[in-house]
Assembly symmetry: C2
Homo-oligomer: 434 residues x 2
Amino acid sequence: MDASFSTIVSRLQALSTSDHTSVVSLNLFVALLLACIVIGHLLEENRWMNESITALMIGLCTGIVILLTTGMKSSHLLVFSEDLFFIYLLPPIIFNAGFQVKKKQFFRNFMTIMLFGAIGTLVSCTIISLGAIEFFKRIGINSFDIGDYIAIGAIFAATDSVCTLQVLNQDETPLLYSLVFGEGVVNDATSVVLFNAIQSFDLNHIDPRIALQFIGNFFYLFFASTMLGVLTGLLSAYIIKKLYFGRHSTDREVALMMLMAYLSYMMAELFYLSGILTVFFCGIVMSHYTWHNVTESSRVTTKHAFATLSFVAETFIFLYVGMDALDIEKWRFVSNSPGTSVAVSSVLLALVLAGRAAFVFPLSLLSNLTKKNPNERISFRQQVIIWWAGLMRGAVSMALAYNKFTSSGHTHLRDNAIMITSTITVVLFSTVVR
Amino acid sequence: MDASFSTIVSRLQALSTSDHTSVVSLNLFVALLLACIVIGHLLEENRWMNESITALMIGLCTGIVILLTTGMKSSHLLVFSEDLFFIYLLPPIIFNAGFQVKKKQFFRNFMTIMLFGAIGTLVSCTIISLGAIEFFKRIGINSFDIGDYIAIGAIFAATDSVCTLQVLNQDETPLLYSLVFGEGVVNDATSVVLFNAIQSFDLNHIDPRIALQFIGNFFYLFFASTMLGVLTGLLSAYIIKKLYFGRHSTDREVALMMLMAYLSYMMAELFYLSGILTVFFCGIVMSHYTWHNVTESSRVTTKHAFATLSFVAETFIFLYVGMDALDIEKWRFVSNSPGTSVAVSSVLLALVLAGRAAFVFPLSLLSNLTKKNPNERISFRQQVIIWWAGLMRGAVSMALAYNKFTSSGHTHLRDNAIMITSTITVVLFSTVVR
């Protein structure tokens, strides 16, 4: 306890001396965010553009400018930090999605969402892992072990719930939105189970008992995370109803809702649960119970403040991904072996397509069999859209790839750098071409 | 440029590896914030308590608990970082104060506020500096030079605008509120001028030319900061009026206002101006122009969202100050020479009282001479309240003291530690006893 305490202390102390360069970076970053919002708004009529692509493009352009001014040394203002992403940017986005989701539509398709999120992700992960084992050796990448391959599978099997919000519109296509977005939330739990599995099991000796443990783990994680979110949401409703009865204060109510939602996410992280699942359900419960116990102005404020926070966080992420795409360090390795890099990216893209096709169509069929009303069935056209919309890989994939391939020792630097540049290629390709 | 870039990079990288201990700290901190809000609300009827004192108390208790569990090694969850304070917590508080200020009252007393903020702070600073030079040597503190003494004067002459918000109520005592709070905002500019002066002038050779430069600097800083804030505010109004005409989007409007306000503060820091003054005037202009160009729901949202952010930031600061008050490292030096420490604290407290009295009463008299309407004059009772309310020293003094006495070399460790513990003593005393 003491040792880790003092490391945090020294880390924070290293950051605490105010540096003028960091003020410059922050200024530029805020100005770029503003530019994204204004330009994104001006291009709103344009079919091919939206805030995220604008942010991605502005990020790329800024990256080029910084690259040129620093003499090809650095292309970003801030280093991509998983903490920044998972602790500050992701929670408001997912919470807001839960807060604004159409609950009726979501719960009507609950079983299908679960099928897609749990079984689908497993199928997809298996196919991508096996495919990577099969093809990577032929391309000339030999340094990964079985754990690395499962990690690759998990990274590329995860639908990016943030990207999905950008492609599908809740009001225009409620069924598709709830299916694809719900899948993205549920498969976060699957990813956490897979990642934990990689660390705790000896993967060179696979036997049926491990498969059972897998399934048990998944159900434990899913229910524990959901319950945590639901309980925090209900607690917030209870506190506001009991304590504030008769003398409401908008600021306190809003602060309470915000902090409780954030606490639910952080508590899930504390207990090694799926924070995304927890904060999503916390959002659903808060919009269903807490929201009806607060004053009228609290209702307006929370609705728009949460949406604004989520909007800014999304823009921030895309701006960042665009800037980071040009990081010269990683591309240096690639320029030594351009063929390998293109091959890796293409193989991964093909595997993602195949892995997704392998579960969307069979599972949709299965889901249709249980529906008696033909209107509730998923048509073939909708299945194609689900397949295609869920293809997008975005900030979540990036963050996982960084987590896996930059911190775990620097023994296989070249292969790791190629994996990261390939992830970036897949992310850029799947976001822009859609 | 390159060197400083890479230091930031390495600093951020040191923070980026997610640590489970930091998750624990964040959880505890958010939970404590929630406790402050709920308990503060329950104690609302109590005359002697409010959210800030509750937060201070909870912080102290938590500090004791952490001190005991870590075996007297550490008493806080996060190290006090000036960056955290000046870059993230202070801007929303000051912006919100500008956004919600009663403009009519504020501008009617503008000259008096300027007198208090500029001349008053200088008088107070001079008295405290001279007093410290006089008394500190007798107590046994010899290691400070003239620059250190002026720094002590500047630190203790600065009225804490955050604390003032807690003591005076805008609705009940509008005149007093606008005078004391306005003084707090204006004297930030004075403090910046003084701090810059310490660094750039050779203080061992004081001549009249330097005094003139002082005055010139102050006027430049005051007008430049104000203009920057006003221009950013007007720009935000222009953008929203021109671009969003006819197709308003609440989320974009709120995001734009938030980011523009923050940008104004950061730009002031970039150009070495007074960020507090800039963001305060930006808030005033935004509430006067921008706010009337947005949709009804944007109006409700910004009003409450800014207030909530400010409220949470204030609670955070007081919670933090409470926790940090018990930092064992600093008190170790004090326990070796308890007499000196008590003497320093008492001397400082007495000097603050005297320094404040030396300008509040004469300047109020001067201000009353210019007012023809007897109702607008400042009565003697009100003068006493101004004197007393402005005495409070809080988070701003703490941050300045840390800035000055922990980073500037570790040659005079004992004296510096005594200065910091004395600051804490003065802050605690003036917040609780009032």
